[in-house]
């Protein structure tokens, strides 16, 4: 399946296969080769959704992928998805593929929009003029899908050619020749009965959304509303989930027989999962907003508004989509950078995108902010935690721009920079799409990340419940021996034992080993353990904290936040999570490269080990030294 960007190709793919993936209204959102299958009369067909392209003369990485695939394919039927409201341009790609002597079916999508514009296409005539089957559909509501299936299953190749390429001396003359012939066809097949209402409406909306002043104001307000919404709307479902997990672990402690296995389940698995499950509402909302912005066509306008500014930093207007979608996850955003034609601009976008706070940081930020920021509203309506969260995101953006500026001066390139981008017409978001996107992302977060989280939680539980040799036994003996002061009651003694055991455990030893390194930035060995475990994925920080502080809490009645608030510095007896330590930790998590998946993707996208390595080093150093500064200012 091939076609111009914004033709509803991915929607058709979803309708055909039921295999769901991301669909956007932005050119080139389909960056991966997506494979799906469907049946026609019990016969299985495999379909590949190729990245959108305007022609077979590739200008970007995405288009190159499509062009190479089409040229190599032998027997595959090529389904060309075309926007029926822009027949002329869409037919260019179609005729190029016909002349490659490939079996082709032309699908005319968005027939509903064509009708709204008071236009009509003579399908049979178009089919006979091009010499290929033509199927009109409306992928959004699934109209015409059976006709398409029929056309696929009854396909027979007819050898024909559109233009004789031997006569055209160069590719531009050839393209002009194609357009001349296409013009004749369009004149014969397209009946216009009125004016193009949709384009007129789109331009009216653009008068506001790309306005000199309102344009930027609307964009900033939208960002502001999104972050406020993520914080205030999600607080109720978050409390609900948190309480549910507390009830569950309480219930399990009561009913399961006391012992190792129960401890493992309650303190390891449930504590770890609960720490993560709480953040599902926020992550779902962030992905919903990003999908809506892309789906409606607004993202393309933001690129237009931002190009001049981003150019100063060695980036491109198109970088705004990877940068903004990095607030959800850096992995798809780094892949999305493929639409940037210029290598240097693309590389810089990839290198700085992970500095922008992603959804995996939300759990960490939320937990830490709850420790130092009161849950209250300012100016009556704004959620204070939400405001500070927005400041942290802003910090990520600024850091990304600064890093980009540095790289702009370091990386040398003679390649010409350009920025050409189609402005799709405004459309309502496909709500199906938004729901599917939320569903897929949350599932990915809960199950794929969940697997790692549970595994790390279990390992962590083992590491923090056992120690080398007989160290645990010695602690027990120390407290039960008669020399011990009996002014403490039994519960207090149990707490002392638990604390000392944790310190003597394997996890404690690991944390203590790196403590000298992290002490200057205000972290103790418990945070040290969390830093080690969250190297693979940031969100593990929360579950690590949950597990570390659960060990020794016999009745499991407190949330992680409450436990961390109670945590004391053993030497001074003062609260451990002071303003300085917590801020330092926040900054560290904002900047540090703690995501294995991102590094792997950067390696794949840059086809080098050098760039992910540089990324790891520069982000880690930035995190360490920023934390150092912040800690010293506030302590």
């Amino acid at each position: 399946m091939v076609g111009n960007p914004n033709t509803g190709k991915s929607t058709l793919f979803n309708t055909l296969t039921g295999l769901n993936q991301h669909v956007g209204n932005f050119p080139g959102v389909t960056v991966d080769k997506k494979v799906g299958a469907f049946n026609i009369k019990n016969k299985k067909y495999t379909i590949i959704d190729l990245p959108g392209t305007y022609g077979l003369n590739p200008c970007s990485e995405d288009e190159r992928i499509t062009q190479e695939y089409i040229q190599k394919s032998k027997k595959d039927i090529i389904v060309i998805v075309a926007d029926s409201t822009n027949l002329k341009r869409n037919l260019l790609l179609c005729t190029q593929i016909i002349d490659l002597k490939k079996p082709v079916i032309l699908v005319l999508n968005m027939m509903d929009l064509l009708q709204k514009n008071n236009q009509e296409i003579k399908i049979n005539q178009l089919s006979s003029l091009l010499g290929i089957p033509v199927v009109p559909i409306n992928a959004r509501i699934g109209k015409g899908i059976d006709d398409l299936k029929y056309a696929i299953s009854n396909f027979s190749y007819q050898n024909n050619s559109f233009v004789d390429q031997h006569h055209s001396s160069n590719v531009i003359d050839e393209t002009m020749l194609r357009y001349n012939k296409i013009n004749h066809i369009v004149n014969e097949c397209l009946i216009k009965k009125g004016e193009d209402k949709l384009s007129i409406l789109t331009k009216k909306i653009d008068n506001i959304l790309t306005h000199k002043i309102y344009g930027y104001l609307i964009f900033l307000s939208l960002l502001f509303i999104i972050f406020q919404a993520i914080f205030s709307w999600s607080s109720y479902p978050m409390e609900l989930i948190e309480n549910a997990f507390l009830l569950l672990s309480d219930f399990l402690t009561q009913t399961l027989p006391a012992g190792m296995l129960t401890d493992l389940i309650v303190d390891g698995v449930i504590a770890g999962l609960g720490g993560i499950g709480v953040f599902v509402p926020q992550i779902a909302m962030l992905f919903a907003f990003i999908t809506i912005l892309e789906d409606t066509g607004y993202m393309a306008r933001v690129s237009f508004l931002m190009d001049r500014i981003l150019r100063q930093f060695g980036l491109n207007g198109k970088s705004i989509i990877p940068l903004l979608s990095s607030t959800a996850c850096a992995v798809p955003s780094i892949m999305g950078a493929r639409t940037i034609n210029n290598y240097k601009e693309r590389l810089i976008t990839i290198m700085v995108a992970p500095l922008i706070s992603c959804s995996a940081r939300i759990p960490v930020y939320t937990l830490l902010l709850a420790l130092i920021v009161p849950k209250e509203s300012v100016f009556g309506a704004f959620n204070l935690q939400g405001l500070i969260m927005m400041a942290l995101y802003l910090l990520g953006f600024i850091a990304a721009l600064m890093a980009a500026l540095v790289m702009k001066w370091i990386i040398k390139s003679k390649e010409k920079s350009s920025f050409m981008l189609e402005m799709p017409i405004y459309r309502l978001p496909r709500w199906n799409n938004v729901t599917l996107s939320i569903y897929n992302k949350v599932r990915l977060f809960l199950f794929d990340a969940g697997k790692i989280i549970v595994a790390i939680s279990v390992i962590l539980w083992v590491l923090s419940s056992y120690g080398p040799d007989n160290s645990f036994q010695l602690i027990e003996e120390k407290y039960t021996s008669e020399h011990f002061d009996t002014k403490y009651n039994n519960d207090e003694i149990q707490t002392f034992i638990a604390a000392e055991k944790l310190e003597a455990s394997y996890a404690g030893i690991i944390g203590k080993t790196i403590e000298p390194l992290i002490k200057p930035i205000g972290f103790d060995w418990k945070i040290g353990i969390a830093l080690v475990t969250s190297f693979a994925a940031r969100e593990v920080f929360v579950s690590t904290m949950a597990t570390l502080y659960s060990v020794g809490d016999e009745d499991n009645t407190k949330s992680i936040k409450q436990k961390m608030l109670l945590a004391e510095n053993p030497k001074t007896g003062k609260p451990l999570y002071t303003l300085a330590t917590t801020l330092s930790l926040l900054i560290f998590y904002a900047f540090a490269m703690q995501c294995m998946t991102t590094l792997v993707i950067v390696h794949k996208e840059t086809k080098s080990l050098k760039w992910p390595f540089i990324q790891l080093i520069y982000m880690s150093s930035l995190a360490y030294f920023s934390s150092l500064v912040v800690y010293h200012i506030f302590s």
């Binding site: 022609g55 393209t175 331009k203 008068n207 237009f304 001049r308 207007g317 920025f419 050409m420 402005m423």
Partner: protein, 77 residues
């Protein structure tokens, strides 16, 4: 009057005469901007660059540096 696309104001129209850069010409063509057809400046970005242009139903954004390479026969009222 022959001029280049970057010198047109908002809402001004013209006919595409020639595109000097070959890669740019090909890219414009595949995006539906065809020699001899009418082109219109829809909007100039708040910071004077890039610009939104239309030709028929095709609606794209390009930078002024590229627009400089596009010769236009400007329509006068």
């Amino acid at each position: 009057m022959i001029t280049t696309l970057d010198l047109l104001e908002e809402n001004e129209t013209g006919t595409i005469q020639q595109i000097n850069d070959e890669d740019l010409a090909l890219q414009m063509l595949t995006m539906g901007f065809i020699l001899g057809e009418v082109i219109k400046i829809e909007r100039i970005a708040p910071l004077k660059d890039p610009i939104l242009i239309t030709s028929g139903v095709n609606y794209i954004c390009i930078r002024k540096a590229d627009a400089k390479n596009i010769s236009i026969l400007k329509n006068t009222l």
